[in-house]
């Protein structure tokens, strides 16, 4: 089993603890993405797998063995560095084959593997060039080729696309996935770019402040965020989060209230407590300038045109929320009515900030809820 297991792994530089008791299982052959903002410990985590950082405490297992004290060269890993780490004085060919030559691999074997890597990564004709005579994309492919010829069981990538321009990045990440589909190494990929994480990973491990926040499939990380941090980090613009007080079937937020569907109230009661965080993505909301029942009322402060959509920033008693809409964009200063799609809302425990879970069947409860509840609300208001 070419798996990787972090067992209470801690990494500190003096007093500065950068990875705080990490528990993480990476399965053989999967593509795991370590995602998080800079300084969250994701690169350190990757470098611990590579053996480039020592482990302060806890155990790291690879292939069933504790590898804490195994030097990098003996771990059977290959790595693509953020700045590619190509040897500037060696040709493309020499860069690719250097490791194999040092390992005294049979020259015919080296030749064969290098050729295969060169043609797979479309580097034909560039063999004799030095890194400085290559474009950014070509350098990145050379780094990839150098990592591939080793045919190692673990493939580590430290922000490999961050030095490329946007178009090339999209192209390269598809290539990376294709390559992995051919070799099926255990693939660990560090990035701060959530789109990259969503498209590349089988699973995403979200880290913040040295702590693993959540690990799940891209779809779950997006649709079922495990905690407030995950909800906020994934998606742009960021998820709206409001403190919410459950009171007699109503959710009081920013001094106003809405009435959520019964299934959600049930869920909140199961969780216990009456304070929650209420989360909704900007793209799962509706705002209108016309009067709407069971809605929060706010004033538009600012709008942002994304081309295909418009982001509307509005203010509800001092809390700023964002909604993304594609037509009927309200103007700055206008009064708006805001309602979430109740099938897409997230509720988190106030203390732990963890998700309280989701009701089983949410398909009926989107914006339609407004009309279902009209009767009840009418009674409320009187």
């Amino acid at each position: 089993m070419k798996d990787i297991i972090f067992d209470h792994v801690l990494k500190a530089y003096g007093k500065n603890v950068v990875v705080k008791g990490l528990n993480l299982n990476i399965c053989e052959g999967e593509r795991l993405v370590l995602l998080g903002p800079s300084g969250c410990g994701k690169s350190t985590t990757l470098r611990m797998i590579a053996g480039l950082e020592n482990i302060t405490d806890g155990q790291l297992y690879m292939d069933g063995r504790i590898v804490n004290d195994i030097p990098s060269g003996k771990r059977n890993v290959s790595m693509v560095f953020q700045n590619y780490a190509l040897f500037p004085h060696m040709t493309v060919e020499d860069n690719i084959s250097y490791g194999l030559k040092v390992q005294k691999v049979d020259p015919r074997e080296i030749e064969e593997r290098s050729k295969a890597a060169i043609s797979m990564l479309d580097l034909n004709g560039l063999e004799k060039r030095k890194p400085k005579e290559l474009s950014g994309g070509q350098r990145q492919r050379v780094a990839l080729a150098r990592a591939l010829v080793k045919r190692s069981d673990y493939f580590l990538l430290d922000e490999p696309l961050s030095n490329l321009d946007a178009q090339l990045r999209v192209h390269s990440r598809k290539e990376l996935v294709k390559i992995h589909e051919m070799y099926h190494q255990t693939f660990v990929y560090v990035t701060h770019d959530q789109v990259e994480a969503m498209t590349v990973g089988h699973r995403i491990a979200l880290m913040y402040d040295g702590i693993l926040q959540t690990i799940d499939t891209p779809s779950n990380v997006y649709n079922r965020p495990a905690n407030v941090y995950a909800a906020r980090f994934i998606g742009a613009p960021s998820t709206n989060i409001l403190e919410a007080n459950l009171n007699e079937g109503k959710l009081i937020m920013a001094g106003q209230h809405i009435v959520p569907p019964e299934v959600w109230i049930q869920k909140m009661k199961e969780n216990g407590g009456d304070m929650f965080y209420f989360g909704i993505r900007p793209e799962h909301t509706k705002i209108t300038t016309d009067y709407m029942d069971n809605a929060l009322k706010g004033i538009v402060r600012y709008t942002e045109d994304y081309g295909n959509k418009v982001g509307v920033y509005f203010d509800i008693n001092g809390k700023e929320l964002i909604s993304v809409c594609d037509n009927n964009v309200p103007a700055t200063g206008e009064k708006v009515y805001f309602t979430p799609d109740y099938s897409k809302i997230h509720l988190f425990d106030y203390k732990t900030e963890n998700s309280i879970g989701y009701p089983e069947d949410l398909s009926k409860h989107n914006y339609g809820v407004v009309y279902e509840l009209r009767g009840r609300l009418a009674g409320d208001r009187s």
Partner: protein
């Protein structure tokens, strides 16, 4: 993150010591051990040959501070420092400023030639200047004769000898100091200077208020190196030209240590003089670093 070295996790720090060992061995035998041995010797009366040394405690130091000659030599040392600093610290600073501001073309050419004497032996330099400045037959004397001036016999006159020896040393030291200071001065962001010039700040103010503080880390290095290395470089012309004379008027602390040890064979006195020199250098470094802490500007 980058500051953490790699090899620790590879479980093998011993190798680092192994790689430093050759250097450390040389330093231990020929630098650290001698340093302590000199301190030790400064408490003895010895002539390097006699089988036994006589312990005299602080007597060497007491004698040193009671001897008027010591003060003459300290005075000479101060004079050397002053002259060396003016020629090899102040002038290079001003020249660098001029070169970086006014002269865009030919900078590398000038740098190349100005540095050239730095690669030539000071013995060669001493011989060349002894001839050029020869008061009777040297070219300068002949030119002076045309104007009816006779050159003094500088090597035999107190004061002048010291000045000429400083000049000879400066001939070698100047180039190195100049290129280092120039690098510091040209390292000051062009934008900052342009910003000042847009505000019509006069040139001398640009120098004082911008160039000097922003290149002060380099400046401090050159300041220290001029004193520490300069005093040692002066040794060669002193030894070659005047042997400290006339009447110790061109001797400095460094030369006098040598003189006590290898001319007068008084190792105790020589050691005491060396230790005094070392203490002076250390004081100088401490003052220097205090200055750095206080407000010297570092680019990084």
């Amino acid at each position: 993150m980058n500051r953490i070295s790699l090899k620790k996790q590879n479980g093998d720090n011993g190798r680092a010591y192994l790689y430093i060992l050759p250097s450390l061995l040389v330093f231990a035998i020929f630098m650290f051990w001698p340093l302590f041995r000199t301190i030790y010797l400064s408490f003895f009366d010895w002539n390097m040959i006699k089988p036994d040394k006589k312990f005299v405690g602080f007597e060497n130091y007491i004698e040193l501070f009671q001897n008027p000659l010591t003060y003459k030599i300290l005075g000479n040392t101060a004079a050397y420092i002053l002259i060396l600093l003016v020629i090899n610290f102040v002038v290079p600073y001003i020249l660098s400023f001029i070169l970086s501001m006014m002269i865009k073309k030919g900078q590398n050419f000038y740098k190349g030639i100005i540095f050239l004497p730095s690669v030539i032996s000071l013995v060669v330099g001493s011989i060349l200047y002894m001839w050029i400045l020869n008061p009777i037959s040297g070219p300068l004397a002949i030119i002076a004769q045309v104007f009816g001036v006779t050159l003094p016999v500088w090597s035999k006159s107190e004061g002048l000898a010291l000045v000429v020896l400083s000049l000879i040393t400066s001939w070698k030291v100047f180039g190195y100091n100049f290129i280092v200071v120039l690098a510091g001065v040209t390292g000051v962001s062009q934008e900052v200077i342009e910003a000042a010039r847009i505000d019509d700040v006069p040139m001398h103010k640009v120098f004082w208020d911008i160039i000097l503080p922003m290149s002060s880390a380099t400046g401090l290095y050159v300041f220290i190196i001029t004193i520490v290395q300069g005093l040692q470089y002066v040794f060669t012309p002193i030894k070659v030209v005047t042997q400290g004379g006339p009447n110790y008027a061109s001797s400095n602390l460094i030369y006098h240590s040598y003189h006590e040890a290898f001319v007068l064979y008084r190792t105790g006195m020589s050691s005491a003089f060396s230790i005094i020199t070392l203490v002076l250098f250390i004081l100088l470094l401490i003052i220097g670093f205090k200055l750095v802490e206080k407000g010297v500007y570092y680019e990084n």
